[in-house]
């Protein structure tokens, strides 16, 4: 059994406080970039410090995809989730088949899971789970 590999390095990690997305924050203008950028995407400054976005977000919108693609069988759910610093993230949503789409504004929480297998290894990526009742981090 080999260790799972992340989809790519530097995007996310598990911490004592739970999983988090990794971003960069510009010390010149305050813009937050996800995925983290070596150079600010807004002002161009190279003064970037790493920030953790945490795991709490809020659903902007979601859709169920009824055609499969290479990695995902038909019936998978995806959406945009708004994270702290206003970062909009596209991701899979953990919704069971037949379950209603979560409404816009639903609090969502991040999880890091094996998303598919490649060359005998699990590939780790992130997705969001509805967490109704949880306070949205940026509300």
């Amino acid at each position: 059994m080999t260790n799972p590999v992340p989809l790519r390095e530097g995007l996310f990690r598990e911490t004592a406080a739970g999983p988090t997305l990794l971003a960069s924050c510009c010390t010149a203008c305050g813009h937050t970039s996800y995925p983290p950028a070596p150079r600010c995407l807004d002002c161009g400054s190279e003064a970037q410090e790493p920030v953790e976005l945490g795991s709490d977000g809020e659903l902007l919108c979601a859709t169920v995809v009824h055609m499969g693609n290479n990695r995902y069988p038909p019936g998978y759910t995806v959406g945009y989730v708004t994270m702290p610093h206003g970062v909009r993230v596209f991701a899979q949503l953990a919704i069971s088949a037949g379950e209603d789409l979560p409404a816009p504004g639903t609090p969502m929480t991040l999880e890091i899971v094996p998303m598919w297998r490649e060359q005998e290894q699990d590939v780790l990526a992130y997705r969001f789970v509805p967490a109704p009742g949880k306070e949205s981090a940026h509300a």
């Binding site: 919108c61 979601a62 859709t63 169920v64 995809v65 009824h66 055609m67 693609n69």
Partner: protein, 381 residues
């Protein structure tokens, strides 16, 4: 900068034709455009061609069968906006005086491409693509947001498709030359909520070509050539710079540049051809092109202004939804259709007295951008 004119336009058949080669499809469109222009192919000084899938020396592959050799030939790719990019590139060369007469071609064989029958994905290494994003998913999420912010309904999105097929039924070139009801569109197979199969453009093979010329050449061959009064091509911007996903700001920026260059206002435009790969996006384009105020896209659709006989008919060709969408061909095809409208030869779908037409095409997605390429051309007579 010199003025640039459309001298002739041509299209191949559109449909599922895996047996037909790129040279065959492109050649059919190029021959038709050359004949329409009334020129001899030996006069062509430059060729710009576009193709997305398995592209290699597309111009040369097509033109060697037409006796055109030893001239400058360029092959461009810009996803669905590739054809517009070929037009724009030739436009710039003629405007700058490098050449006086050339041809722009867009061609695609979708049925033999690696994505035949699949959801069109972003680039293989794109992050969002790896997480499950594809073109219909992108537009389904936008449609979900339109329902939230604009009061749009699934019936509105279906109505865009009904409108496209009402027009397409009048166009002998349409792949699907038949009409549908809102109920039929809604009852077709769900692809990505709320987008159903009949709200998605079909996989289609085809080609389109446009012969363009400087004023001196154009007036020798035509008494009333169609002028390219505005031409713009812009790349996408960072997604974080747009307030919401209910706009594709690169389309708005391309439109603003083209309007300014042409010296026309959105209210001057008589007819529009635009990217309706998915029905719901048409409502966004209405707003980005300034055909109505921001937030009023659904109202414009419901008013019937963009339908047959309306104030500003959109996609009287039948659009991508009924014609089909051979990716790189579509940006050239919209120039062909607007030219035909301005020449008054669009038959049953003719917009009476059309003098100013707008051709728009957008293409490509990549993580972090609103889209990849946006192009708007304004044509006048």
């Amino acid at each position: 900068m010199r003025e640039v004119f459309v001298l002739g336009v041509g299209q191949s058949d559109f449909g599922k034709m895996p047996e037909r080669s790129i040279a065959d499809l492109g050649g059919q469109a190029a021959r038709a455009a050359i004949a329409d222009a009334g020129i001899n192919s030996a006069q062509i000084q430059a060729v710009f061609s576009s193709r997305v899938y398995d592209a290699m020396i597309t111009s040369q592959t097509i033109m060697k069968d037409l006796g055109v050799t030893r001239v400058e030939m360029v092959n461009v790719e810009n996803a669905c906006a590739g054809g517009s990019t070929a037009i724009r590139s030739l436009y710039k060369d003629i405007a700058a005086g490098f050449v006086d007469l050339g041809i722009a071609i867009g061609v695609e064989s979708m049925t033999t491409s690696p994505i035949a029958g699949k959801l069109i994905p972003p680039d293989r290494d794109d992050l969002d693509g790896q997480l499950g994003l594809s073109m219909p998913v992108l537009f389904a999420l936008q449609a979900q947001r339109l329902m939230e912010t604009h009061g749009a309904t699934p019936e509105d999105f279906a109505q865009v498709s009904v409108k496209a097929h009402d027009f397409g039924a009048l166009n002998p070139r349409a792949q699907y030359q038949r009409r549908f009801t809102v109920e039929e569109v809604l009852a077709s197979r769900m692809i990505a909520d709320p987008i159903t199969l009949l709200q998605c453009c079909p996989n289609t093979d085809g080609a389109a070509a446009v012969v363009m010329a400087s004023a001196d050449v154009a007036k020798k061959y035509s008494e009333a050539p169609v002028r390219i009064a505005g031409s713009a091509l812009v790349s996408g911007d960072y997604d974080f710079r747009r307030s919401d996903i209910t706009t594709l700001e690169l389309g708005a920026r391309a439109a603003a540049r083209a309007y300014e260059q042409a010296g026309v206002a959105p209210s001057d435009v008589d007819v529009v051809e635009l990217h309706d790969a998915f029905a719901s996006e048409e409502i966004v384009h209405y707003e980005d092109l300034g055909l109505c105020a921001r937030g009023d896209g659904v109202g414009l659709l419901r008013s019937g202004a963009t339908s047959i006989g309306g104030r500003i008919p959109v996609n009287p060709s039948g659009g991508l939804l009924s014609l089909g969408h051979p990716l790189a061909a579509s940006g050239v095809r919209v120039i062909c259709d607007i030219t035909d409208q301005l020449r008054g030869r669009s038959g049953a779908s003719q917009v009476p007295g059309a003098k100013v037409g707008l051709a728009q095409m957008l293409g490509g997605v990549a993580t972090g951008l609103d889209a990849a390429a946006g192009s708007v051309h304004i044509l006048t007579v």
